[in-house]
């Protein structure tokens, strides 16, 4: 009896999570590489200035700004988008776990996982919630 519940065993969930992490990582690295190539082609000859801290321009700090820069095919914007995908990968993992625990009808762990997800979303929103 290959029931639905059986397809959602812990083992299965672990395999799904493994795949999710692998795909997220690969996608993020590919976008970062693409952005890095464009950035180096355009700015490779300039002088780096990392000994003084100035902070990033506002467009490279927020999700909407990063998406705008990336769509304009700016190297730095694309790298930042890749990094955002990288940060989003564990967040997606946690969101997926909420669904997995809900399927297992494990109410305690649905709550536990939702708390973790809330903290992550708060941080991704830049602390403005």
């Amino acid at each position: 009896m290959a029931s639905r519940a059986r397809q959602w065993t812990d083992q299965n969930v672990e395999e799904w999570i493994g795949n999710l992490l692998r795909v997220g990582m690969t996608l993020a690295a590919a976008v970062v590489l693409l952005g890095g190539g464009i950035y180096l082609l355009r700015h490779g000859r300039a002088t780096p200035q990392y000994h003084v801290f100035r902070g990033e321009p506002t467009d490279l700090r927020s999700i909407s700004g990063i998406v705008k820069e990336a769509l304009a095919f700016q190297g730095r914007g694309l790298i930042q988008l890749g990094l955002l995908l990288l940060i989003a990968t564990p967040v997606a993992r946690v969101a997926f776990s909420v669904a997995a625990f809900a399927r297992e009808r494990d109410r305690l762990y649905v709550v536990v996982t939702l708390i973790v997800l809330a903290v992550l979303v708060y941080s991704l929103a830049g602390g403005h919630l």
């Binding site: 969930v13 672990e14 395999e15 999570i17 493994g18 795949n19 992490l21 990582m25 993020a28 690295a29 970062v32 590489l33 952005g35 890095g36 950035y39 180096l40 700015h43 490779g44 000859r45 300039a46 002088t47 780096p48 990392y50 000994h51 003084v52 801290f53 902070g55 990033e56 490279l60 700090r61 190297g75 730095r76 914007g77 790298i79 930042q80 990094l83 955002l84 990288l86 940060i87 990968t89 564990p90 967040v91 993992r93 946690v94 776990s97 494990d106 305690l108 762990y109 536990v112 996982t113 708390i115 973790v116 903290v119 992550l120 708060y122 941080s123 991704l124 929103a125 830049g126 602390g127």
Partner: protein, 278 residues
């Protein structure tokens, strides 16, 4: 030096940090920040932002490999992540309020402790154990594969583990590291988990913990794409290479040599923090 050469140099540093981090078990994140700050003169805030990103990358990469082998305990990991993520958000907020000198002193101390902890032999918990009522209610008891078939374990002292994890989260958010050493104390020593289980579960948690502070670092402008790009790619490539070489390496000698280098870096961080040069 132009940006192209600088990027190559940072990428090479990332490669080295990832390689050494994976061979010594310290993790690349804790090694790349002193390398960038001390050797390349990068402002420590930029260095921490870039390191944090590489920590997420190595954790996701390693967790993807481990999770299938059935060592990591998702329930224990998820429950303790409440503590580490809250701690990480607190740590990231703290990072904006204290001086870079203080951050570099704390960094040096944590680096020293981590080097000490990784050099010690870890002892395996006893086989037969009495299930802890709280851990049982939280469904944390589990089993893991061994050559003699599955072996069961039952976590103890959940509140103590949870509190230590909060501390690990603060350090992770403050310093942009995975805090593997503190996570291991919480799970090996306080909760009495077998070390295969604690190592893989800790690795599994590191990415989520780092993601909890990364959003705040990004919003504050600490994550520079030009720096984070070669750091992340270098550290990931270095860790993968390290993990490949590990089974064949003469780790005793490697650990001794790298341990010495790491202690020197830690002392430099503390010294520079005290003299206000970082």
């Amino acid at each position: 030096m132009n940006i192209f050469e600088f990027t190559l140099l940072v990428g090479a540093s990332g490669l080295l940090a990832g390689f050494v981090g994976s061979l010594t078990g310290l993790g690349g994140g804790i090694i790349i920040t002193p390398l960038l700050a001390l050797a390349l003169g990068v402002d420590i805030r930029y260095a921490i932002g870039a390191a944090l990103v590489s920590v997420i990358a190595t954790s996701s990469g390693a967790a993807a490999a481990y999770v299938r082998e059935g060592f990591s305990n998702i329930r224990i990991g998820m429950f303790l992540e409440i503590a580490t993520t809250l701690g990480a958000v607190g740590g990231a907020m703290l990072a904006a309020r204290i001086s870079t000198g203080a951050i570099s002193i704390i960094f040096g101390l944590v680096l020293l402790y981590s080097a000490y902890a990784s050099s010690r032999r870890r002892h395996e918990g006893v086989g037969d154990c009495r299930p802890d009522p709280l851990a049982t209610r939280m469904k944390m008891n589990g089993s893991y594969p061994t050559p003699d078939g599955p072996k069961s374990y039952c976590p103890q002292a959940v509140p103590a583990g949870f509190s230590l994890m909060f501390g690990a989260g603060i350090l992770s958010g403050l310093l942009g590291i995975g805090s593997g050493a503190v996570k291991v104390i919480a799970m090996d020593q306080a909760m009495g988990l077998p070390f295969k289980v604690s190592t893989t579960t800790s690795n599994f948690m590191i990415g989520v913990t780092a993601a909890a502070s990364a959003g705040l670092y990004l919003a504050r402008g600490y994550i520079d794409p030009g720096l984070a790009m070669p750091v992340m790619l270098g550290v990931v490539a270095g860790s993968v290479a390290g993990a490949r070489v590990l089974p064949y390496a003469k780790t005793r000698w490697l650990r001794l040599v790298f341990g010495f280098v790491i202690v020197v870096m830690a002392i430099e961080m503390i010294y520079h923090g005290l003299t206000g040069r970082l």
